[in-house]
Symmetry: C2
Subunit: 220 residues, 2 copies
Amino acid sequence: MTTDAPSNAPSERTRLRRRHDRASYDKETIHAILDATMICHVGISIDGQPFVTPTIHWREGNRIYFHGSSKSRTFCHMMTDAPVCVSVSLLDGIVLARSGFNHSVNYRSVMLFGTARQVEDGAAKTKHLKTFIERMFPGRWEELRPVSAKEIKATKVVWMEIDEASAKLRTGGPNDNEDDYSQPVWAGVLPITTTTDKPEPCPRLMEGIAEPDYLRAFKA
Amino acid sequence: MTTDAPSNAPSERTRLRRRHDRASYDKETIHAILDATMICHVGISIDGQPFVTPTIHWREGNRIYFHGSSKSRTFCHMMTDAPVCVSVSLLDGIVLARSGFNHSVNYRSVMLFGTARQVEDGAAKTKHLKTFIERMFPGRWEELRPVSAKEIKATKVVWMEIDEASAKLRTGGPNDNEDDYSQPVWAGVLPITTTTDKPEPCPRLMEGIAEPDYLRAFKA
């Protein structure tokens, strides 16, 4: 059974070489960043050639899950016990300092190492896909027609333990050289946020279908 | 000299194995996606171990540029003629279909392969960093104190040709199985956008410094 216990000390792969002040190995921080993002970038190496593929992820306990086509090259390669590096990042702002050199960005990122496993059992796959949909849109799964055996077979559900992971983040305003604070130039942060807009119904929506509550819960 | 000529046919690495309908090898499309994103994910492989590092990028002509600390492991490894894979992606919406299986996301992504080179000359480095700042904030570079030789020495400016690249994108509403259109469930797109918020001035801002025009140009 996996728990949300605090992460261990950094491994050789996750230990931050530079900017230790921005590092965190705390599970709560790592989980929060994974939960705040939808797209991750999965890195694999095939005969020394790196491939970085964007894919959707979600978290259950101390595991990160992905799903994709059974034929996906990345997913098939991951099933060979290959080392995997997963990276997620959120840009929170552009930091305008008083020198070009001290310009920066505010961000939250996670880098995660390990090997991947797939969920073999069809019923278990279905359960995880339901969790994924329900986390975003509570109540939607029961509104959909049941998934077919063929659809489940065509879908790989893959997971990795969140054991060897590090978060790196920056918040706050510019950190200028003390001498530079007297420069007559604007300095501060241009915040960046990701939001949802008004839902766009499908032109072939059945008559009488109202916009569901779970969509209204998103900030417009 | 690099030009904005159309990309060549896909290489073995960039040819999309699945969902060919979502692929584009057109330079204009690839450049537009690179220009619409600020963060990319750089993949390298060290002794078979993949590392995926988020970093800021910008484009000049048919080259993608990065900058970072001279001591960065990723940047140092890239200088050994190592194969590099760069991935950028933009999430544009969540596509809610009438079956779980046909749920999707709208996105724009680019995958780019090649090897990296660094700008050696200090004056040339400065010129590229100026281009980077000026593209975001026109006029700002001249407002800042000049960069020092020490700062330029501590910064690597790295570039790759955008020769072996592919774009992959999805737009539009749900594509349901014909039988599923009669399902009594909401279907459509929840659009996602990234925007800037009101600039937050540094608490130590010099008196009398107004918010610059180039910040007002950003959508709040």
